[in-house]
C-alpha cells in the first residue's frame, strides 16, 4: 500500500462535486424564487396603485368648462400599508398641474385606457408610479386628463425580506438534504471498492483464483484485468515450479549413475590417495543429489500447499517410520534418536508434506549435531499439537535465528557442512500451509530446538 502513487480521493471528489452542485443549485433556487417573489410582490403593489389611479381618473368630469375630479376617500385609503408607505399623486390636464404634487410629472404621449408603471425616486426614496390617461370630450374639443399615483416601497421590501428569509431557509434545507445524499452516494460507491479490496487482501499469499463475487459494471474492467493478471501469474508460477522439479529430477538421475560408477571404482582402487578422492567425490555427489532432492521437495511443497490433500495423519506413526528410515545415518555418527511419544497424535493434514518437513528437521539435527550425542523427537499435545526436534549441537546463532527459515539462507560458521539452505524453508512452509508455525530456539545446554506447531 505504501508504494502506491495516490492522487486525490474518488469519494472526496464525488462528494465535492455533488455538494458543490447542490450549493450552486441552492443559490440559483434562491435567486430565481426571490426574483419571482419580487415580481409577484411588485405585481401586487401595481394592482393596488392601478385600482387607486383608476378610481381617481374615473371621477374626472367637465363642470362649467373646467376639468374637476371629486375622487372618493377610498382612492387613497386603499393605499394604506402595514409599513405606512408614503403616498403621492398628481392630476394633470395636458401638461398643467390641476392638483397634487408638482414633481410627479407624467410621461407625455401615453395613450388613454392603459396604465403605465415606473419606478423612480423622490428625495432618495424609491417610489412606484402608476399613471393613467383619460380623454374627456368637452364642448370645445377633447381634453386629456392624466392621473399619477405614487407610493414608496417600504411594505414591499418588508415583504420581500420576509420572503427572502424563508427562501434562504428553503435553500439551506435543500442544500443539506442534497449534501447528505451526496455523502451517502459517495460512500456507497467507495464502499464497493472497499469490499473488493478487503476480499483481495484477505486472500492467502498463494491464492491466485479469480474474483467471483459480483461487482458493479463500472468496476468490471478493473476486476477483469485483475483476474487475468492473477491467472497469468498463477500460470507462470506453476510453470516455474514445474521447471524446477523437472530440472532437479534431471540432475538427480545422472548423479545417481555417476555415484554408482564412483562406488564401483572405489571397490577396485587400492591406493589410499585415490580412494580418498573417490570417497570425497561420492560425498559431494550425495550432497548434490540431496540438494536437488530438496529443491524438488520445495517445489512440491509450494505446489501442494495451495491444495492440501487432507487426511487423518498420526504423527506418532509418521515419526517412528522416519526414525527407522534414518537410523543408518544416525548410526554412522553414533547418534541415538530418542522418541518421546506417548500414544497416537492425530491431526488433519497432508501426510507427504508433514513427512517431508519432519525428515528435513531430523536430517538437520543429525547433520549439525556432533558424533556420539543424542537427538530427541518429542510430541507435545498441550494446548496445541506440536513436534520438537532437539539436538545437542552448537544450536542456532542468535543473530541469525530470525532469518534462517528464508529460502537458500544458511548459517555462517557451519565448518564446511554442505547444505542448500532449503531444509528449514520447507518445514516452515509446511507448518504455515497447515495453519501453524515453526519456532526456532536453543536449549539450555545450547543445542538447537525446532518446534512445529500444527
Amino acid at each position: 500500500m505504501a508504494d502506491v502513487n495516490v492522487s486525490g480521493s474518488l469519494r472526496r471528489r464525488l462528494a465535492l462535486i455533488l455538494t458543490g452542485g447542490a450549493a450552486l443549485l441552492a443559490v440559483i433556487l434562491f435567486l430565481v424564487v426571490r426574483a419571482l417573489a419580487a415580481q409577484v410582490a411588485q405585481q401586487g403593489q401595481d394592482n393596488i396603485l392601478n385600482a387607486s389611479m383608476a378610481s381617481v381618473l374615473d371621477t374626472a368630469v367637465i363642470r362649467e368648462g373646467r376639468v374637476t375630479l371629486d375622487f372618493p376617500y377610498s382612492s387613497l385609503s386603499m393605499l394604506n400599508t402595514a409599513a405606512d408607505d408614503r403616498v403621492f399623486y398628481a392630476i394633470h390636464e395636458g401638461a398643467t398641474l390641476l392638483s397634487g404634487y408638482d414633481w410627479l410629472v407624467p410621461q407625455s404621449g401615453l395613450s388613454a385606457g392603459d396604465a403605465y408603471f415606473e419606478t423612480t425616486s423622490f428625495n432618495g426614496d424609491q417610489v412606484r408610479v402608476a399613471t393613467g390617461v383619460r380623454i374627456l370630450t368637452g364642448t370645445d374639443g377633447p381634453r386629456t386628463v392624466s392621473v399619477s399615483i405614487a407610493q414608496t416601497q417600504d411594505a414591499l421590501s418588508d415583504t420581500l425580506n420576509a420572503i427572502s428569509r424563508n427562501i434562504v431557509l428553503l435553500g439551506l434545507g435543500f442544500f443539506m438534504l442534497v449534501s447528505a445524499l451526496a455523502i451517502w452516494a459517495a460512500s456507497t460507491t467507495s464502499g464497493q471498492m472497499h469490499r473488493l479490496t478487503t476480499s483481495v487482501t484477505r486472500r492467502g499469499p498463494q491464492d491466485l483464483s479469480p474474483v467471483t463475487q459480483p461487482v458493479p459494471s463500472e468496476m468490471a474492467p478493473l476486476v477483469g484485468s485483475l483476474n487475468r493478471l492473477m491467472s497469468r501469474l498463477d500460470h507462470t508460477l506453476a510453470q516455474s515450479e514445474d521447471f524446477i522439479a523437472e530440472a532437479a529430477h534431471r540432475i538427480r538421475t545422472p548423479l545417481a549413475t555417476v555415484r554408482s560408477h564412483a562406488e564401483a571404482t572405489l571397490q577396485r582402487v587400492e591406493q589410499v590417495e585415490n580412494r580418498k578422492s573417490l570417497q570425497a567425490m561420492v560425498r559431494a555427489i550425495d550432497e548434490s543429489s540431496r540438494a536437488a532432492g530438496q529443491l524438488l521437495d520445495h517445489a512440491m511443497v509450494t505446489f501442494r500447499a495451495e491444495n492440501l490433500e487432507m487426511s487423518q495423519v498420526d504423527l506418532a506413526d509418521l515419526l517412528r517410520d522416519l526414525g527407522q528410515s534414518m537410523s543408518p545415518v544416525a548410526e554412522m555418527k553414533d547418534i541415538s534418536i530418542t522418541m518421546e511419544i506417548d500414544g497416537p497424535a492425530t491431526l488433519q493434514g497432508d501426510a507427504i508434506l508433514l513427512q517431508n518437513a519432519l525428515r528435513n528437521l531430523i536430517d538437520n539435527a543429525l547433520k549439525y549435531a556432533p558424533v556420539e550425542t543424542g537427538v530427541t523427537v518429542r510430541i507435545s499435545k498441550a494446548a496445541r499439537l506440536s513436534v520438537s526436534i532437539i539436538d545437542e549441537g552448537q544450536g542456532f546463532a542468535s543473530d541469525e535465528i530470525q532469518t534462517l527459515s528464508g529460502r537458500f539462507v544458511r548459517g555462517k560458521d557451519m565448518d564446511n557442512k554442505v547444505g542448500s539452505g532449503l531444509g528449514l524453508t520447507i518445514a516452515h512452509e509446511v507448518a504455515i500451509a497447515h495453519g501453524g508455525e515453526m519456532i526456532l530456539t536453543n536449549t539450555a545446554e545450547g543445542g538447537a530446538c525446532v518446534t512445529l506447531y500444527l
Binding site: 382612492s75 394604506n80 408607505d85 403616498v87 390641476l98
Partner: protein
C-alpha cells in the same frame, strides 16, 4: 421660481420674527438654544408636560409657540429648520407634513400601531367633537342627543336659534375643516344640518375657545363640533355648559406630534417626543391634562379618524375648493 425661493429665504427670518402668536412662552433657563415647539394646543394644557420634561432633562429650555392649525402648517412648511416639534390637532395637515418628508422618525415601540404613522407621526390624545349647549339659554327646550335631534330642534324653533348657533369656519380652521369633511364622509345628515344651521344664521369661529367663551356669556345657546376636551374643562368650572357627544357617533380626532426632519435640536426633539408618549401611556391627569388615547376597543365606536394616507383626500386643491363651495352654499346662504 428660483427668484421666489431666494426672496422667501431672505424674508423668512423677518416673517418669523414678525409672526403674531396666539401665545408664546419660554420655559426653563434660556441659556442654551431652546427646544422650539410649534403647537395649536393651548399653553395651559402643555405647561405641566413641558415642566416635567425640563425637570427630567438638565439644562434645557423650551419655547412654546401657539398658533392656529392652518397658520401653523404654512409657517412650518416655509421654515421647517426653525422648529423642533410640531403639535397640531389637524390630523390631515400633520399627515401631509409627514408624508411630504418633513418629519424625522422616532423609534418608540410601545406606542400602539394605529396611533402612529411611518414611525414619525404620533397620536397622543383622543378628543371627540361635541355639541355644547348653554343650559340656561336652552331653558325648556329638550336636550338633543344626536345630529338628527339638532336638526329637528332648529327647524321647530328657528327664532330661538337665530344668530345664536356657532360652529367652525372651515375656511379658517384646519381642525374645523377636518371635522366637517369627516362628518360629511360619514353621514348625509351633515349637509342637512349645515343647511339648517345656515338658515338660522350660524356664527362662524376660528377656534373652540372663542365658541366656548360665547356660549358661557350666553351669546350662543348651542355650538356644533366644539372640541369636547376644551368644553369639558370649562364645564367643570361652570354649570352653564352641557357637553353632548352625538349618539350616532362622535367624530373623534387624535392630536399628533412629530419631530422636524430638519430640527435645529434633533436629539432634544427626539427625547421630547418620547417623553410625551411616555407621559401619555402613564396617563397621570396632573402632568398630562389632555384626554389620553382611547383603547382600541373604543376606537370604532368613537369613530376615531384613522391615521392613513386617505387624509390627503380632502386636502386636494380641487376637492377642497368643491367642498368649501358646497359648504358656503349651505351655511352662508342667507348672507
Amino acid at each position: 421660481m428660483r427668484y421666489l425661493v431666494f426672496i422667501m429665504a431672505f424674508l423668512l427670518p423677518f416673517s418669523v420674527a414678525a409672526q403674531e402668536w396666539e401665545d408664546r412662552q419660554v420655559f426653563g433657563t434660556p441659556n442654551a438654544p431652546p427646544l422650539r415647539i410649534l403647537s395649536s394646543t393651548d399653553t395651559s394644557f402643555f405647561a405641566p408636560i413641558i415642566e416635567d420634561f425640563i425637570a427630567s432633562t438638565s439644562n434645557t429650555s423650551v419655547e412654546y409657540l401657539v398658533t392656529g392649525t392652518v397658520d401653523l402648517d404654512q409657517l412650518f412648511r416655509s421654515a421647517p429648520d426653525q422648529f423642533d416639534i410640531v403639535i397640531s390637532s389637524a390630523m390631515d395637515l400633520q399627515l401631509k407634513l409627514a408624508n411630504d418628508g418633513f418629519s424625522s422618525s422616532v423609534v418608540y415601540v410601545d406606542h400602539p400601531e394605529w396611533a402612529q404613522w411611518h414611525n414619525s407621526l404620533f397620536a397622543f390624545t383622543s378628543e371627540p367633537a361635541a355639541i355644547v349647549i348653554n343650559r340656561q339659554a336652552f331653558d325648556d327646550l329638550p336636550v338633543p342627543s344626536s345630529r338628527q335631534d339638532l336638526i329637528q330642534l332648529m327647524r321647530d324653533h328657528p327664532d330661538r336659534f337665530q344668530e345664536r348657533v356657532g360652529t367652525y369656519d372651515v375656511r379658517q380652521s384646519g381642525l374645523g375643516y377636518l371635522f366637517a369633511t369627516q362628518d360629511a364622509r360619514a353621514t348625509e345628515t351633515y349637509w342637512r344640518l349645515t343647511e339648517v344651521m345656515g338658515r338660522v344664521g350660524t356664527k362662524l369661529y376660528c377656534c373652540s375657545g372663542q365658541m366656548i367663551d360665547d356660549l358661557q356669556s350666553g351669546d350662543l345657546i348651542m355650538a356644533y363640533n366644539v372640541l369636547g376636551s376644551y368644553a369639558k374643562a370649562q364645564a367643570e368650572t361652570s354649570d352653564d355648559l352641557i357637553v353632548i357627544l352625538p349618539s350616532e357617533f362622535p367624530t373623534t380626532m387624535m392630536r399628533t406630534i412629530m419631530a422636524s426632519a430638519t430640527a435645529p435640536n434633533p436629539q432634544l426633539a427626539d427625547s421630547f417626543v418620547r417623553h410625551l408618549l411616555n407621559l401619555q401611556s402613564i396617563g397621570d391627569p396632573v402632568i398630562f391634562p389632555l384626554p389620553p388615547l382611547a383603547g382600541s376597543h373604543d376606537f370604532q365606536a368613537q369613530r376615531t379618524i384613522n391615521l392613513d394616507p386617505a387624509l390627503l383626500t380632502y386636502l386636494d386643491q380641487m376637492k377642497r375648493e368643491a367642498f368649501i363651495r358646497e359648504w358656503e352654499d349651505a351655511i352662508v346662504q342667507v348672507e
